[in-house]
């Protein structure tokens, strides 16, 4: 017992001591919860293309819901950079001085190296013939997507449906609300997160259509013939914002390398890896090479339809907001 305890103490001592000398060659990428495989592929590719003599680099990963991650950073999680799936969650860091005010201008495309959109995953052969947003409101269609209150994924789905309806009904909000109520009534299970909704649809076999990011749908349908991906003709742009956590990185002397790592996501090699995980990218050569996987789609932007993410949050998802009103009907 005593010896075990001594060993434990040695290990503990080691754990505390380690960051002290390895500091400038260790960076922490704090990310959203389903990006693990993606960054497990990005990290070695990034390390490989670094020049000789730049020293050893370890890239650590942390994955959880991106709002939880943002909160952890505010409480002291030593993140050098973030790769999130929610603009709001980076904005929270900017508001608290962890990330530069102009973070969206620091990297191309609103600091979003890749993007995706809410799309549909249906059962084999698409028996309910679900092709567009109007089908989600049809009688007898069972819809699955996560709760917009707790899940970014669910928020995108809700806003995409709303944006489509605004366009379809020429801005007639009564009709839009009517449509949204029908869609919400068709939702059979409201899971708290995207992965939970996927599990409900695939493992529990509930629902005719799962609305989730195109990347998630393609990842699953690509491996399993029981499902098929349907990309509706219109959808909502879902950005995946990145930023250097300057407050932490400047203290740890890792700012430059964190910036370089994020720049790598925009290189042809980085974009190629991102696209191989079914994300849409901007690099023209990569876009061309993957054209058959990503059908053309008209994308609305949150800023254009709802003003800003803050406004959308306030109007729709806050307590007593539009979502609450619709669900009460």
């Amino acid at each position: 017992m005593l010896r075990q305890f001594a060993t434990a103490i040695t290990i503990v001592g080691g754990t505390f001591a380690a960051p002290a000398h390895a500091q400038n060659t260790e960076i922490l990428n704090v990310s959203y919860d389903i990006a693990r495989e993606l960054y497990a592929a990005i990290n070695p590719a990034y390390i490989e293309q670094r020049g000789e003599g730049e020293g050893e680099l370890t890239i650590n990963q942390s994955h959880a819901g991106s709002s939880k991650q943002a909160r952890a950073i505010l409480q002291g999680l030593q993140a050098d950079l973030v790769t999130f799936n929610q603009v709001l969650d980076v904005q929270v860091l900017a508001d608290n001085g962890f990330v530069a005010e102009n973070w969206q201008e620091q990297f191309p495309n609103n600091a979003s190296p890749y993007y995706s959109l809410p799309a549909f995953m249906v059962r084999e052969g698409n028996p309910k013939e679900i092709d567009g947003w109007d089908d989600l409101a049809r009688d007898g269609v069972s819809v699955i997507f996560p709760n917009p209150k707790t899940s970014g994924n669910g928020r995108y789905t809700y806003l995409a449906a709303w944006a489509w309806a605004m366009n379809e009904f020429g801005g007639d909000e009564t009709k839009v609300r009517d449509y949204m109520t029908k869609v919400l009534n068709n939702v059979e299970v409201f899971d708290t997160g995207g992965r939970g909704a996927t599990t409900t649809f695939t493992e529990r076999g509930i629902g005719d259509v799962l609305v989730t990011f195109e990347a998630e749908a393609l990842n699953i349908a690509g491996e399993n013939d029981d499902y098929a991906t349907v990309v509706p003709p219109q959808s909502l742009l879902a950005e995946f914002p990145v930023a250097v956590v300057e407050k932490v990185a400047s203290q740890r002397g890792t700012e430059e390398i964190a910036r370089d790592y994020l720049d790598f996501l925009y290189t042809p090699k980085g974009q190629e890896i991102l696209a191989s995980f079914n994300n849409r990218v901007h690099d023209e050569a990569v876009v061309k090479a993957n054209a058959d996987r990503f059908p053309e789609v008209e994308l609305y932007k949150v800023e254009d339809v709802f003003g800003s993410w803050e406004d959308a949050q306030e109007t729709h998802f806050a307590s007593g907001g539009v979502l609450d009103e619709l669900q009460r009907q």
């Binding site: 305890f5 434990a8 503990v12 389903i34 959880a64 002291g76």
Partner: protein, 268 residues
């Protein structure tokens, strides 16, 4: 007679459905693809590091709890002092508080902006999102176990034997070692085992303060959930068997000690 059989059948059925079946399924799923696959899954670096972290946490938390639990139980059983009842209530508080709330409390106090965490930050000392944070919350959730088990035995066994030892010339330490400890061994071990099981199994509180850095601050329960969410069912179930095995080891230890140390005045 009928009622007796019915009761037995109910108890067995309940144990089967609620305990045996789920645990059996974990092992069945974990080994469904063969032992080699299981071994590969548990020796995957991130899972291995989660196992090490979990064991290290328990190795720190349990001894601290034994010492603290003994002191507290001794103080409460043998001395009268103001606030004695209050102390007992405070020690048992972790039973009543949901672990997730405990985690949040620790984050608010010891996090970068908390009163304690903020004061330590200028010195480069960080207490959250690393081993220190995980140990702190584990101490919190496990601290009632030893006290709760030892205290009743200490109270029942009374002071008579201890007084006698002192009268016959034993030193305080001799009295403690030769009279008190034998009386409470079983309770102490039992408390330590419960604390161990809780420390290695704790999810909620640890999840709040872990920071979820892969290969560094993921404990085994967190790693299991994460593997499961990554659609890595085999990996998740393999890691779950390790956790179940750790629990089994503590149970076997308990049984062995019970066999080799027939204790006087044992509570159990």
């Amino acid at each position: 007679m009928k009622a007796k059989h019915l009761l037995i059948a109910l108890a067995v059925l309940f144990a089967l459905v609620v305990i045996v079946l789920p645990v059996a399924v974990i092992f069945q799923r974990a080994f469904a693809e063969g032992f080699a696959v299981w071994l590969a899954a548990v020796s995957e670096p991130e899972t291995r590091s989660a196992i090490v972290l979990t064991v290290v946490t328990a190795l720190i938390v349990v001894p601290v709890n034994i010492v603290f639990g003994l002191c507290a139980a001794w103080a409460i059983a043998r001395f009268k002092f103001p606030g004695r009842r209050a102390l007992l209530v405070v020690i048992e508080l972790p039973f009543a508080i949901s672990p997730i709330v405990a985690g949040l409390c620790f984050l608010l106090v010891y996090g970068a902006y908390g009163p304690v965490g903020g004061a330590l930050q200028p010195y480069g000392i960080q207490l959250m999102f690393n081993l220190a944070g995980i140990v702190l919350v584990s101490l919190f959730v496990t601290c009632p176990f030893v006290v709760r088990e030892v205290l009743p035995v200490l109270s029942v066994s009374g002071e008579d034997e201890e007084r006698a030892a002192l009268t016959l010339g034993a030193s305080g330490w001799q009295m403690f070692r030769l009279v008190t400890v034998p009386n409470i061994t079983w309770a102490l071990v039992y408390g330590a085992i419960l604390a161990t099981a809780r420390a290695i199994g704790e999810f909620g509180a640890v999840s709040v303060v872990s920071g979820a850095i892969r290969g560094q601050t993921m404990t085994l329960p967190l790693q299991i959930e994460l593997l499961y969410n990554d659609y890595n069912t085999t990996g998740a179930f393999a890691a779950a068997t390790v956790l179940a095995l750790l629990a089994l080891v503590t149970l076997v230890l308990r049984g062995l000690i019970a066999l080799t140390h027939p204790v006087r005045g044992a509570a159990q």
